[in-house]
């Protein structure tokens, strides 16, 4: 593994799903085969890259041999590598799930699925803000295609609404990126970070535009209204990918812009606090609305809003340079563990839907007796979303609350803790119905392979909580601290 050029790893990480997507268009009947091969290759390459970063630190790649500011710079840091690995593993599990007979997804599912994965991988490596914008656009387009494949006109309507919001967000983000280039003559994050020590009007305007644009794509409160219908309309494997990874990609970019691009800028306190307020509002509002849902998939979609809120909290919590790394690790842990947990829960909800023919909460009584393994996995995912030990969600929330208390911003610990209570309230209701006495016999049989995959995804989120030291130390590699910009 030592001898492998990081170039090869990066090329396979993006190239395998991209090639798979093209092959899936050309030979649609074999779509699932391409998807399984591509995600397996990507996972292997992601393991190699992560191991290398663990040993030698951040990987820098100059595309085409041109270095910044002339060329495009890719940079894989610890959190980026873990998110790529998470994307690869979740995508592989989703691909196996979606390829399971007798409910194999149709040929049309595979190209957008694979392009989505490729776009996400490119996004997690990009260190050039325009490159990031292009990757985000590709991710949005593929995501809308996945939503549109849901049942009936409602899915198309949800997809169109998602597309229009994503488009507005994209144009706004692009204007911000353009202003950064016009004002500072570069798109490279490292160079920008130094130039933005004195941002001036152009810099602040760019930050505001990029933040609003990404907020629309990441479904931050109050720009979240498109998310529940879109995520609940997509077919289950699509929902799993959208809720677990696509939203997180925009959040990751938001963190990078604030914490790397504007690391040296004198960001005013009220701006940081209002971002925290947006996060807190998302946590509370997502929780309140999730409690009122009567359908399982909608409930899960609303719970994503709460998790999005946690991640945004990282920005105000990292204001104190002593706790930046802690907040960064906490946010990274939310991203990674939520990805596994939410993928497991959306796939589990899809199985319940397949077995019962619907996902109305009051009518899934006794589902646990018919498909115990799936409901067990669903409960583990729930533990993670609530943030109970020993899950990754617990470690994440612990770190964020610690950063809040140590940094003298105790008030942010309140929504962070309250989010868990809301989440517990609605998830217990769903799980209680499923485990109560009822005629689980009315449910159709589900493929054993799908049950095992869902359980493995859920267990992955639990393992993150049982063995957090290793992933946390990887996340710290190349994390934004106040001395980091000495890098090339």
């Amino acid at each position: 593994m030592e001898g492998i050029d990081p170039w090869w790893a990066a090329a396979v990480i993006v190239g395998a799903p991209l090639t798979g997507g093209v092959l899936a268009i050309l030979w649609g009947a074999l779509g699932h085969v391409w998807a399984l091969a591509a995600t397996a290759a990507m996972t292997a390459a992601a393991v190699v890259a992560t191991a290398r970063i663990g040993r030698h630190g951040v990987i820098h790649l100059a595309l085409g041999g041109w270095s910044a500011p002339l060329g495009i710079h890719w940079r894989i840091d610890g959190l980026g590598a873990l998110l790529i690995l998470t994307t690869a593993l979740v995508a592989m599990a989703v691909a196996w799930f979606a390829a399971s007979p007798p409910r194999r997804m149709p040929p049309a599912f595979w190209p957008p699925f694979l392009f989505e994965v490729a776009a996400l991988a490119a996004l997690f490596m990009s260190w050039d803000v325009f490159n990031v914008y292009v990757a985000l656009e590709l991710a949005s387009l593929a995501a809308v295609t996945l939503v549109a494949q849901g049942h009936g006109k409602a899915a198309v309507a949800a997809a169109l609404r998602y597309l229009l919001v994503a488009l507005a967000g994209a144009i706004t983000t692009l204007l911000g990126v353009g202003l950064l280039y016009a004002g500072f003559g570069t798109l490279d994050l490292s160079i920008l970070s130094r130039a933005l020590a004195g941002p001036g009007l152009v810099g602040w305007l760019a930050l505001a535009l990029i933040t609003v644009g990404l907020a629309a794509k990441a479904a931050l409160f109050p720009l979240h209204t498109w998310l529940p219908a879109a995520h609940a309309s997509a077919p289950a494997p699509g929902s799993a990918l959208l809720s677990a990874l696509v939203v997180e990609a925009s959040l990751f970019v938001l963190l990078r812009v604030w914490m790397v691009g504007f690391a040296h800028a004198p960001v005013p306190g009220p701006a940081l606090q209002s971002l925290g307020l947006i996060g807190a509002a998302g946590i509370v509002w997502g929780g309140l609305l999730a409690m009122r849902q009567r359908r399982l998939k909608l409930l899960l979609a609303f719970s994503t809003l709460t998790q999005v809120g946690y991640v945004v909290m990282v920005v105000p919590l990292s204001a104190d340079p002593r706790w930046t790394e802690l907040a960064w690790q906490g946010g990274g842990m939310v991203l990674v563990s939520h990805a596994f947990a939410k993928a497991a829960m959306f796939l589990g909800a899809g199985m319940i839907m397949d077995a019962a023919g619907h996902d109305r909460l009051e009518n899934i009584r006794g589902a646990a007796h018919a498909m115990p393994m799936t409901l067990f996995a669903f409960a583990i995912g729930g533990i993670n979303l609530i943030g109970l030990p020993p899950s990754g969600g617990f470690v994440a929330k612990w770190l964020l609350i610690e950063a809040a208390l140590n940094g003298g911003q105790w008030w942010w610990a309140v929504p962070l803790a309250a989010g868990g209570l809301f989440t517990a309230a609605y998830l217990f209701r769903a799980v209680a119905v499923a485990f109560s006495a009822g005629d689980g016999g009315a449910l159709a049989a589900v493929p054993r392979r799908q049950e095992v995959l869902v359980l493995m995804l859920a267990l992955a989120s639990l393992l993150l909580g049982l063995f957090p030291a290793q992933p946390l130390s990887v996340m710290a590699i190349g994390a934004p601290t106040h001395s980091w910009s000495a890098e090339p």
Partner: protein, 95 residues
């Protein structure tokens, strides 16, 4: 400077239309107006030597145009799919 300001006006008009309009095709067109404004700003505000056009800004805008065209085509195809069962109009409430 005047181009940059004009771009800003187009951006605001387009974004307003994108949210205020009821008709789906009008909303998609509004997005295109906003995108055109953005491109105008990027091209006119970049390049610090007045005589030489900035190639990077042009590359950005060119990529942006390609993306805008494909997103528009995709959005219009979704509108058609949405509309295929209805007898009249794209969507009520617009004009």
């Amino acid at each position: 400077m005047i181009y940059t300001l004009a771009g800003g006006v187009l951006f605001v008009i387009g974004l307003h239309g994108l949210f205020a309009r009821g008709n789906l095709v009008m909303r998609i067109m509004s997005a295109n107006v906003a995108a055109a404004g953005t491109f105008l700003i990027i091209v006119s505000a970049s390049g610090h030597e007045a005589s030489v056009a900035d190639p990077v800004a042009q590359a950005i805008v060119l990529t942006g145009i390609v993306i805008a065209v494909s997103v528009t085509a995709f959005a219009l195809s979704l509108v058609r799919r949405l509309d295929s069962g209805r007898s009249r109009g794209v969507r009520h409430g617009g004009h």
